[in-house]
Every structure is written in structure tokens, then in C-alpha cells.
């Protein structure tokens, strides 16, 4: 049959005349759009979720290579598009910290790939220790966080996130070249926690955030697991604060901020802080982090046509506002950062249903693209891709 004959045949295809009535034709077209939109995208966007849960080597390696390439190229302040210098510097810390966590997790999950990713993870740690990355903390405290380890001041964010990476590195390399620093930072944080009047280490002068303290506590518990160090003088009380004192009794979420002067909540309880704290704490223990994860899942998680998301405030609460740098911009109350970090929590606590639904949204908004042996989320940039690697390979080191 010639090409023209075939196209004439196709052009002549018609259903019986009864289907051509406008009141059949147009409503049916609308239903086709509706049902296809309900079925096809959830299947298409969720294809890789199960592969991530199963630690599919191809997928993990392709994304890890992309993150490793950005670490090796060096993340510059100009690469980060934040409009405020302060965010530039915090995001440098976040980019290298998440990249190091993700790459170390890949080393633990796929030990045969250690030779490829461990040197890059160590490069990220070297960057974390550099003066330019810790500058944001030095400026706010007017003292270097590493040169003042014998002092009394908190430095909870910089030291907490750094120490978590150092403790995880020691999990991969027991005779880590960062062991001495890991021991000294852990000792300083434990001592400061014990001396703290209300049990909260300050991130910046007179600013206390439970999520940063979750990084501190997670790093200490992981350090104890690696070395046998004893934190019984501080850990139980600190865990109790996460499971009781710093929880909003109405929502079960963590208060976003605690006033270090009186130990009272200084900001409303929100999903972004709670989801991130659950993820950070899960490196060291599973009981309290499980409570936090259950709170965000039960009180803030929702989905639409199979696409999961987390509301920044618990379902049924008042107007959500427009969001901030912790939550990202809130559209109808949906929190991008809480949704991203809950992906890590869902993996750690083996909540497959939530993981798959959140992954569909990440696929939709993140636009994963494979190029050569690498795979990146197009909309992520260095920070977003580092966070995604850490979340999609998240694992608890606690039994």
C-alpha cells in the first residue's frame, strides 16, 4: 500500500455517527483528558522511585557522578543564585555537607565504588573546613568556630552539620584522617550541651533552632556508635526535649525556634524543621526521629492524583503565609523543603507509599535528565542535586 493510500485510509477512519453528537463528543473528550491526567503522570513520574528504594546501581551511580563532578569542579559563590550574601555562604555549607553525606552513603551502600567516591567526599569535607565556607559563622559569632572549640559559644549549625559528616566519614573509614577533629568537636558540643541552661545550643547569638541541634545530637550519637564514647550525661535529656519539650502538643511538630534565654518556643511549629530534624537525628537513633517523622507524615503529608507533598503547617491550621528560606516559597501552603527532606525520612523509615508519592512530585518539579553517565535534576543546581542525593540514598546507622 502506498504512503498516500495509507494516509487516505487513516483520514477516512471515523467512529459511528452516534458518537459525533456534540453532547457525547465533547464531554467524552474532557473525560479522556481527566482520566489520562489521573493515571499516566503518576505512573510515568513514579517509575524510578522503586529503583531508588532498591538502591539501583545505575541510578545511584549516575546521580552520584553528577554530584561528584560539581564538587570536583568546586562550587563557587557565583554558582549559587541567592540574592543575599548570607544565603550564599549558608548554601555553600549546605551544598558541600549534603554532597558529602550523599557520597558517603553511596560508599556505604556500594562499597565496591569507594575508590571512585570517597576521595570526592573527602574533597567536600576539606571544603567544609575551609575558611570561606565557615566565614558565615565566623562573621555572626565574631570568632572562628574551629579555633574556639574550647570556648562556651554554640556554633550549633556549622559545628553540628560538619560533625555529622565527620562522624559518617568515620563510619566509612574507621581510621579517618578527620578522627581527631571529630573527637574534639564532639567533646566541645557535648560539653556545651551539658552547660546549656535550657538544653539548646545557639546557632547564632541568641538564636536557637531545634533542627540545628538535631544535627548536633545526631552527630554525637553516631560518634558514640563509632567510638564507644559515652554521652549518657547529655543524650537522654536532649532526646527528651525533642520528643516532649520542643514539640507542639497540638500538631506534634517541632517548634521552629527556641529562645535560648528562657527555653520557650520563639516560632511556630512547622514541617520544614521537623522533617529535617527527623532526617538528621536518624543518623544516630531511630526512636525519637521516628516520632518526628510520624508527626510530619500524619499531620502534614497529603497528595493529589498520587503526587505527594508536605504542608508547612499541620492540616487544618491557619493561613500558611508565603514561606521563608527554611521552607521555600509556599504555594497553597505546600513546603518544598519539608517535602524534600521527608523523602529522606520516608526512605529511612521504609514508608514506601510516602516515598513513591513524594518522588513523583520530585520528578515532576525536578526534571531529571540523563546525559552520558550522569543524571541530574535540571532545576536543582549544585545545592538541589546534593540534597537529592543525600535524600535518595538516606540510611540510618542506628540499629
Amino acid at each position: 500500500m502506498s504512503r498516500h493510500a495509507l494516509s487516505r485510509r487513516i483520514a477516512a477512519l471515523r467512529l459511528p455517527p452516534d458518537y459525533s453528537r456534540w453532547w457525547v463528543r465533547w464531554p467524552a473528550a474532557g473525560l479522556i483528558v481527566l482520566f489520562t491526567a489521573m493515571i499516566v503522570p503518576r505512573f510515568w513520574c513514579g517509575r524510578d522511585a522503586i529503583r531508588w528504594l532498591a538502591n539501583d546501581g545505575d541510578l545511584v551511580l549516575a546521580h552520584a557522578r553528577a554530584v561528584a563532578a560539581s564538587v570536583e569542579a568546586g562550587v563557587q559563590v557565583e554558582d549559587l543564585s541567592a540574592q543575599r550574601d548570607f544565603f550564599h555562604n549558608e548554601w555553600l555549607l549546605g551544598t558541600y555537607q549534603m554532597a558529602a553525606l550523599g557520597l558517603l552513603q553511596v560508599c556505604l551502600e556500594l562499597p565496591e565504588r569507594r575508590a571512585e567516591f570517597l576521595p570526592v567526599a573527602e574533597r567536600a569535607i576539606d571544603e567544609l573546613l575551609s575558611e570561606r565556607v565557615r566565614a558565615f559563622d565566623t562573621v555572626r559569632w565574631r570568632e572562628d568556630p574551629l579555633a574556639s572549640l574550647d570556648g562556651p559559644r554554640g556554633h550549633a549549625a556549622y559545628l553540628g552539620y560538619l560533625n555529622l559528616v565527620l562522624s559518617l566519614h568515620r563510619r566509612v573509614v574507621p581510621d579517618s584522617r578527620f578522627s581527631d577533629l571529630n573527637d574534639r568537636i564532639s567533646a566541645a558540643l557535648a560539653r556545651r550541651l551539658q552547660a546549656s541552661r535550657h538544653g539548646i545550643l545557639e546557632t547564632y547569638p541568641l538564636e536557637g533552632y531545634p533542627v540545628d541541634n538535631a544535627a548536633v545530637l545526631g552527630s554525637l550519637l553516631l560518634h558514640a556508635r563509632n567510638t564507644g564514647a559515652d554521652y549518657s550525661a547529655v543524650a537522654p535529656a536532649a532526646l527528651a526535649r525533642f520528643s516532649i519539650a520542643w514539640l507542639d502538643p497540638r500538631s506534634g511538630l517541632l517548634f521552629q525556634s527556641i529562645n535560648p534565654r528562657d527555653g520557650k518556643p520563639a516560632a511556630a511549629a512547622r514541617a520544614s524543621g521537623t522533617a529535617r530534624a527527623a532526617f538528621l537525628l536518624s543518623y544516630g537513633e531511630r526512636a525519637v526521629s521516628g516520632i518526628l517523622f510520624a508527626a510530619v507524615r500524619d499531620r502534614c503529608a497529603d497528595s493529589f492524583w498520587g503526587f505527594g507533598y508536605l504542608n508547612e503547617h499541620h492540616i487544618g491550621s491557619a493561613a500558611p503565609g508565603i514561606g521563608d528560606s527554611d521552607s521555600g516559597p509556599l504555594v497553597l501552603g505546600v513546603s518544598p523543603f519539608a517535602s524534600g527532606f521527608a523523602l529522606g525520612g520516608a526512605r529511612v523509615f521504609d514508608d514506601r507509599r510516602l516515598f513513591v508519592s513524594l518522588y513523583r512530585t520530585a520528578h515532576l518539579a525536578g526534571t531529571p535528565v540523563a546525559s552520558g553517565d550522569r543524571r541530574v535534576f535540571v532545576t536543582g543546581g549544585p545545592l538541589g542535586n546534593a540534597i537529592m542525593l543525600a535524600m535518595l540514598t538516606a540510611r540510618s546507622e542506628a540499629p
Partner: protein
């Protein structure tokens, strides 16, 4: 004499829409391919920019970039969520187009 009844805008639009011939199969396929090609090309172009950070911390100088980012997201929403249904619905419209003798 009775004045002609005033028809609302949507009624006129709908009549015009019904009067239009159904698109051909070739046009349906080409338009779908064009939308996907545009999305594919935009993905590779935007991979050079850190959209997440722009969205998390937009500033006055970043408004144009933010609008580009939102435009891309709108295109992606259409491509992933609605384009398959749009394609199938247009095929349905093609298959159920009226015969000339059937017009009323």
C-alpha cells in the same frame, strides 16, 4: 420586529469552535512532538541555571529569571500532566468528527 437575541461571548466562541474542521492526524502528531521538543530543549538550556535557588531566594534582579523558571514549570506541568490526555482527546475528536451529511 423583534431585535436579534444577544449572544454571550462564550456562546459565539463555542459556535466558532464547533464550526472548525477537526485537525488532521498529522497535525496532531506534529503539534505534540513540537511541545515535547520544546520541553526537551528547555530542560537542557535551563540545566545551566540553578532554578531551585532562584525560587528559594528571589531578589529584584532575579525577577526575569524567576519568570522564566515559572514559565518552564508551567510547560513541564502541561507536558507531563496534560499532554498525554490532550493528545488522546484530540484523536477522539478526530475519530468522531461529523460527516458532511450529518451537520445540523
Amino acid at each position: 420586529m423583534k431585535p436579534p437575541a444577544h449572544k454571550p461571548w462564550w456562546s459565539k466562541w463555542w459556535e466558532r469552535r464547533l464550526a472548525q474542521p477537526a485537525p488532521t492526524l498529522g497535525r496532531i502528531v506534529i503539534e505534540l512532538a513540537a511541545v515535547y521538543a520544546l520541553h526537551f530543549a528547555a530542560s537542557f538550556v535551563l540545566a545551566r541555571f540553578s532554578l531551585l535557588e532562584l525560587i528559594l531566594s528571589p531578589g529584584p534582579s532575579g525577577r526575569f529569571a524567576l519568570m522564566v523558571a515559572l514559565g518552564f514549570f508551567a510547560l513541564r506541568m502541561f507536558v507531563l500532566l496534560f499532554a498525554p490526555g490532550w493528545f488522546l482527546a484530540r484523536l477522539w475528536i478526530l475519530l468522531t468528527r461529523e460527516r458532511p451529511e450529518q451537520r445540523w
